[in-house]
Assembly symmetry: C2
Homo-oligomer: 189 residues x 2
Amino acid sequence: MKRKEEIIRRAVEVFEQKGVSGSSFEDIAEAVGIKREGLYYYFRDRAAILVEITLEPSRNLLKGLQDILETNQSSEAKLRLALENHLDRFDPNYLEMAVALREHHIYETNEEMEILRQVWKQYSDLWIKLIREGQASGSFQSSQNPKLVAYGVLGMCNWLSRWYDPGKDIPVTEVIDTYFSMILNGISR
Amino acid sequence: MKRKEEIIRRAVEVFEQKGVSGSSFEDIAEAVGIKREGLYYYFRDRAAILVEITLEPSRNLLKGLQDILETNQSSEAKLRLALENHLDRFDPNYLEMAVALREHHIYETNEEMEILRQVWKQYSDLWIKLIREGQASGSFQSSQNPKLVAYGVLGMCNWLSRWYDPGKDIPVTEVIDTYFSMILNGISR
């Protein structure tokens, strides 16, 4: 499977450099240094490569959140851990996740992506559950729509894929601290 | 210019249905009911159509925020108005803005989009300014990085393009109320 891993690594680089819509199957073959026909041995098309890139980190993200929700901690503590679970992945898996999030739309007409979309659906449903539990236990305000809150938090976090560069920007730990305090207590003094 | 407007309207429909990366110049010509050559009379390529679609609403968004920042109100009031300015546009201009935001990445390798990117840069810089002024006046907590806060807010709002359907979902006014209260005071009870 070493060859397949190398293809994935090169594909991520190509997608990052040229964007998914600007990268052809041929570009990836060329970057790997094999012929188009050789690449077909491993992947049917560009979309299959994208699924391979994004499915594992997405499943890890989901698994991480599931584990957090199964613990016996306060909702505040779970929120903090859930933010860490989400945002820490921008560090080691930055490239993959950035590609996955930025190029999200390409999946919309592609049936093969259904499994990936289901993972994401489960993931955002778990976020709604986290908020709902916090409201039920009296930790969070119950007047706010849990779906709106959850999607607001996911929006804050996922938007990092549009502007955040872990090498140059603010450390991830500061992002986590700030977003945790913002979400919990707001920005008002 | 009526013909040009019709092309834009059809192009938005095509982009919405098939996604930008799945829509060709020919698809748009076909939807308008003219030949590819006829479409060239109005637009050089697909990217030129996208600029035409997104530039005006983006400039309106920027102008709206500039006007708000020039008033003499409290930072809380400006935050509220800035959210309204941003989110109200999901209603009448939903299609255009959804296309613009979702397909953002396509601009990244296209030089023609530079002008649009500058409008967006000015817009997010103004958001940072709004937060910074609120911190300076003592309305907002000064311990939070203004850029992180501003991008967090923009992330919450822009993420709507991924999930929000103004026809079926929660009313925009509720989104504005909830996000305003979340940003200002958080979700903690």
